[in-house]
Amino acid sequence: MKKQNDEIEKTLSEMPKINDSRSFDDYYNQISKQVNQRKIRKHAKRGWIIPAITSAAALVLVFIIGLQFINTNQTADEMKTYQSIEDSVDQAETNESANESASSGDAEMAEIEEYNQDGQGNQDMGGASNDDENQQFSMQEVDANSSMVVTQDESQGKQFVTFIIPDNQVQYFAPITVEMNDQDPYEFFNQSRELIMDDEWGLSSDVLSSITFIGMNDQNIPILEMDETELQDGTAIERVAMEVIRYFQYLGHEKVAVRDPNGDPVSLAHVGEVEEVTFENQLKAYKLYQPQSDELFWIEKVLMNGASIEEAIEELKVSEEAFNIKAPVPNNVNIEIEGQDPVLNIRFLNPEQLAESTEIPYIIESILLTAKSFGYEQVDFNNLGMTQVGPYQLDEPVQVPAYINPR
C-alpha cells in the first residue's frame, strides 16, 4: 500500500512542465488595455456626481430665494403671526426631540454602557489569553454593539431592497440593503450605481452601469438590458453580472429575462447566449469584510453544493487576510449543532472561551445569517452564559434577520 502510494507520488512529480507560448509583452499589452478600459468605465460612471451636485445646489438656491420672496410679501401682522406659529412649533419640536433623545439616549447609553462594561473587561482578559492575531478586530474603530442586519421586527412596515455588490478585489459579494421611500423597487435598481459608494465602502459597482431594468414581460418576469460589450473582460465580470442581478431574487423573482440593446439574447464569452437567468439558492457562510478601519460589512462566501451547516459554521472560523476578510467566530470556540428544521440548535461547548471574546455580536449574527441561507427560520443559542446581546434576546430562539448590511 505504502509502495503504491510512493509510486503515485513519484509519477506525479514527473508530470511535465507546461510552457506558455505567449510573451511578457503580449500579456502586458492585453492587461494594460483591459485595466485602462475598466478605469475609463469607472470614471465614466462617476460622471453623474458633478451634475447631481450642481443640480442640488441650484435647487437649494431657488428654494432660499423663493422663501425670501414669499417673506417680503407678508405684512408685518402676518409675519408676526407666522413667527409666533413657527416659534411654538419649533418649541414643541425641540421639547419633543429633547424628550425623545433623552429617553432613547438613556436607553441606548445604558445598553452601550452595559455592553462596554462586559466588552472592556472581556477585551482585557482576551488580550491576555488570546494571541491569535487573525481573530482580532479593530474594535476601537468599529462599534461592535451596532447590529449589521435588519431584524424581522425592524423590517415591519418598511420596504427595503438589497443590492449585491462585489468587493474591490472581486472575490466576494456584499449584500447592501437600502430602505425605500415610496419608490418603485424595480426602477430603483437603475439608481443603484448612484447609491453605492465604491471607494468609501471598498466595493466595486462598475458592472451596474451595464445593466438596466426596462420593464416586466407578460409573465411578470423582470426584463434586464445588458450591454454585453461591457461584459467581455473575462469570466469574473460575467460572474459579477450574474450576481448583481440577484437584486431581483431578493424582490421575490425566481428568474429574470435578459436581452442586449438590440433585443437579442445576451452573448457572453464564457457563458454563451443567455435569454433567461434562473436564480439558484446558494448555501453561504457570512464573514466580516473590513476594507477600511471604519467600515465593516457582512460578506457572502458561497459554499459548495451539498455543504452541511456544520461545515458552514466551521467556515466562519476562517479568515482571509489577503482579501480583508475576517472570521466572525474565533477559532477556539467549539460549537455543537443540532438542526431541527425550522430551528437550528447551537450549543457552545466552551463558554468560558466565549466569555473572553469581544466578538459575541459578530458570532451571533454570522450564525443567524448562515443559518438563514440553509433555510432555518430561528436559531436557539444555548450555553452562551448570557441572555441578551445587542438586540438579541438569547433565552429564546432568535429569528433569522430580514435584511443585511443596512446603509
Binding site: I8, E9, D20, S32, V35, R38, A236
Partner: protein, 176 residues
C-alpha cells in the same frame, strides 16, 4: 504598472500558468484565466496589505478565478443539458481537449496519470498540483487554499487513493 507586472511575471508566471493549466487543461483558457488573475492583482495591488506573501496572494486569486471558471462551466453545461438526450448522444460530451505536446515525450504512466487527474474533485486536484507538480510545502498549500494543514493532508491522502484506484482500473483495462 509595467514594473509591478514585470516583477510578478518574472517571479511567478511559470508556476501560475502551470497551476491554472493543470486545473483547466486547455492552453487558450489558461491564457485567459492567467490574464484575469493579473488584472485582478494589478487592480488591487495598492490595497495588498502584505499580510500574506505575494505568492500566497497571487495563487489565492488564481484559485478564485479558476473556481469561478468552473462555476460558469457548470452553469453552461446545465443549460446545454436542457433538452439533451444523454442516452443517445452522451458520448459526444467526452473531453476532447488536446493533450499538451510536453506530455508526448513522457512515459505512458505519466500520460495515464494526466488523464486520471480529471477524476479527482477540484479540491483534490488543487492539492495535487500545488504539492506534487508545483512542489509546494503543506504550509504553503494550506495558506493558498486558506485551509488548515490537516485539511491539506487529508485531501492529499484521499486524492492519492483516488488516483491509485483509477490508475489500477486503467491498467487492469477496467476503464469505462
Amino acid at each position: 504598472m509595467r514594473e509591478s507586472f514585470q516583477e510578478l511575471y518574472d517571479e511567478f508566471h511559470q508556476d501560475l500558468y502551470q497551476f491554472i493549466f493543470y486545473m483547466v487543461k486547455d492552453k487558450p483558457t489558461t491564457e485567459d484565466l492567467v490574464q484575469e488573475v493579473y488584472i485582478r492583482v494589478l487592480q488591487s495591488y495598492d490595497t495588498f496589505a502584505g499580510k500574506s506573501s505575494q505568492k500566497t496572494w497571487l495563487f489565492s486569486i488564481a484559485r478564485h478565478v479558476t473556481i469561478d471558471f468552473f462555476r460558469k462551466q457548470g452553469r453552461r453545461k446545465k443549460r446545454h443539458a436542457d433538452g439533451f438526450d444523454f442516452e443517445q448522444h452522451g458520448n459526444l460530451l467526452k473531453d476532447n481537449k488536446p493533450t499538451p505536446e510536453e506530455l508526448a515525450e513522457k512515459s505512458e504512466e505519466v500520460q495515464m496519470m494526466y488523464q486520471c487527474l480529471d477524476k479527482c474533485s477540484n479540491d483534490q486536484r488543487m492539492v495535487i498540483i500545488l504539492r506534487y507538480i508545483q512542489q509546494m510545502s503543506i504550509k504553503e498549500t494550506a495558506d493558498i487554499l486558506n485551509w488548515s494543514t490537516s485539511k491539506v493532508k487529508t485531501t492529499q491522502h484521499r486524492a492519492i487513493n483516488a488516483l491509485k484506484d483509477r490508475m489500477l482500473q486503467r491498467k487492469g483495462g477496467h476503464e469505462e
